[in-house]
């Protein structure tokens, strides 16, 4: 290597030099030897090299910011774009075989167009039993994980029109973002989930919806969504949610109820985990009734209001009941689908 260029460099010039900076940032045996050589050949440069080295070293003593959220942000990313725990349910395409004569007729007659339209508008309906999870891939690539005891319906004919789906029960949505230009949104780029009188309108986001017992709860993990409540009488009310927002629509009132510090936990049920934050015994067991078909009885009604501070994160119903019973000092008996709280 030609060392002559280092014969009379200033501190600033040394710091501009790639080879010099690299040798301080990631020294190797070779680079250390090289700078020794430069110092020996040009003794007057020794001090300059030492000062430039010290300057870099001191600069690099600066404080680094350590984020503690590595795992948590990953969970959110995973909830948004990651592979889901359940394997996707492949919806049967219309494979019903028609009699040969009819097939020919359909191909040659205008009836063909009519039957195509019927096929396109055919309502698709996916249902889950108690305790069952299903992953549904919609025609646009949107993925919905359905919790137990839930129903999702949609029409097959998406394209020019708004993407629409109807939900009863609970679903976690990862909606594919189709919109390129946010100042010009085409109808086909919108996605709307209908829950009774509440419409959830999105472009591309991840969120959780619970539509049970005449109220709807929506929690947003990523992106932005708009909720619009249409009341039979009076004007529609609407609300725009930001990530972490949790909103409830009940008794024809739409309101923000919570700001979740960990919205990614909304998807925990889709991985067959039971996660509850600061829930009451009543809420927790209600969700077991709703999604797993248990029947819960309380010998003292007040027990419903017992609150569990902090988080519960378990993998099975047995474990959940055990944890609750330990924390709250209540006896819980389980007999088949019957749960009794004493």
């Amino acid at each position: 290597m030609d060392l002559t260029k280092y014969a009379s460099l200033t501190i600033a010039e040394l710091l501009e030099d790639d080879a010099f900076v690299k040798s301080v940032l990631e020294p190797t045996a070779d680079s250390v030897r090289l700078w020794q050589q430069v110092g020996e050949r040009y003794p007057a440069q020794k001090e300059t090299i030492a000062q430039a080295t010290r300057l870099l070293r001191v600069y690099r003593t600066q404080t680094t910011f350590e984020s503690s959220q590595q795992a948590e942000i990953w969970q959110r990313i995973e909830a948004a774009v990651g592979p889901t725990a359940t394997s996707p349910l492949v919806l049967p395409r219309a494979t019903r075989r028609w009699p040969r004569a009819l097939r020919i007729a359909a191909a040659v007659m205008p009836l063909g167009l009519g039957s195509l339209a019927v096929w396109y508008n055919q309502e698709q309906r996916v249902e889950t039993a108690f305790g069952e999870l299903k992953t549904v891939d919609l025609p646009d690539g949107t993925r919905v994980v359905l919790n137990g005891n839930s129903t999702l319906t949609y029409h097959r004919g998406w394209g020019q029109h708004v993407r629409e789906a109807w939900l009863q029960g609970e679903g976690f949505f990862k909606v594919v973002h189709l919109n390129q230009d946010s100042t010009h949104i085409r109808p086909g780029e919108r996605f709307v989930v209908h829950c009774n009188n509440l419409n959830i309108e999105v472009l591309g986001t991840t969120f959780n919806v619970v539509n049970r017992h005449a109220d709807v709860r929506v929690g947003l993990v990523t992106g932005k969504i708009r909720l619009t409540a249409t009341t039979p009488a009076g004007p529609a009310t609407s609300l725009v949610l930001a990530p972490g927002d949790y909103a409830k629509y009940a008794a024809q009132r739409l309101a923000l109820t919570d700001k979740l510090a960990h919205p990614e936990k909304l998807a925990s049920w889709s991985k067959r985990q039971f996660v509850f934050s600061n829930g009451t015994l009543g809420d927790i067991l209600k969700s077991l009734e709703d999604t797993h078909g248990y029947r819960v009885r309380y010998t003292r009604a007040a027990a419903r209001h017992l609150k569990i501070e902090g988080d519960i994160n378990v993998a099975s119903v047995q474990e959940l009941l055990q944890t609750i019973s330990t924390i709250l000092h209540v006896s819980i008996y389980q007999n088949g689908k019957q749960i009794i709280v004493n």
């Binding site: 501190i11 300057l55 910011f65 350590e66 590595q70």
Partner: protein, 193 residues
């Protein structure tokens, strides 16, 4: 530091839908990206959102991504623009000075404990000098001397030409050089600006 060919291998796997490679890239760059973001704002939630947005966007657009100068420089550039956008949106609500020079950049030496007395004194002076540098000069010093980026990579991250990168760094180095020119010169730098 991830070896460049290993980095490129992971990048190519990730572009072919390899979730594992994507996870590795996330875990490898998470701290570096957060640290960089923290120089623009102390709003930890904003940085977290920006990192999240960056990786979600990365996965959803993976098939149309090219091969950057380096994966690290690509991620820094992308994060920077997301953070700027978020800060910009927020500033529209909080401030009215439209023409203000972009966003601050600030390194801190709060927790650094230095044994050597001479270096400790140097650090003290350095803090003072660096805080007088304009934000973009501070940023370029960081990218160059903390992260070890090359000139073309810095130019790409900061969206300026390579020639401007040299110029900007040169200005900053000139001030830093004064650290070694006795206290009077330093005083001039500190109070004369």
């Amino acid at each position: 530091m991830l070896p460049p060919d290993e980095e490129l291998r992971l990048w190519n796997l990730f572009k072919q839908d390899d979730w594992q490679a994507y996870t590795t890239l996330y875990n490898y760059y998470f701290k570096l990206l957060n640290n960089y973001g923290h120089k623009f704002t102390r709003d930890v939630a904003l940085i977290a959102d920006a990192v999240q947005d960056l990786f979600i966007k990365l996965w959803t657009t993976r098939q149309s991504l090219g091969n950057p100068l380096s994966v690290k420089n690509y991620l820094f550039k992308a994060l920077r623009s997301i953070i700027f956008r978020k800060l910009h949106v927020r500033s529209r609500f909080t401030s009215v000075d439209e023409g203000a020079e972009a966003f601050p950049f600030e390194v801190s030496f709060d927790q650094a404990v230095i044994e050597d007395e001479e270096e400790r004194a140097l650090q003290h002076k350095m803090k003072a000098v660096i805080s007088t540098l304009p934000a973009r000069q501070q940023e370029i010093v960081f990218l160059r001397f903390y992260e070890g980026f090359s000139y073309p990579e810095i130019a790409d991250i900061m969206d300026i030409t390579v020639a401007s990168t040299y110029k900007l760094l040169y200005k900053a180095l000139h001030k830093l050089e004064e650290l070694f020119k006795g206290s009077s010169a330093l005083g001039g730098t500190l109070f004369g600006e």
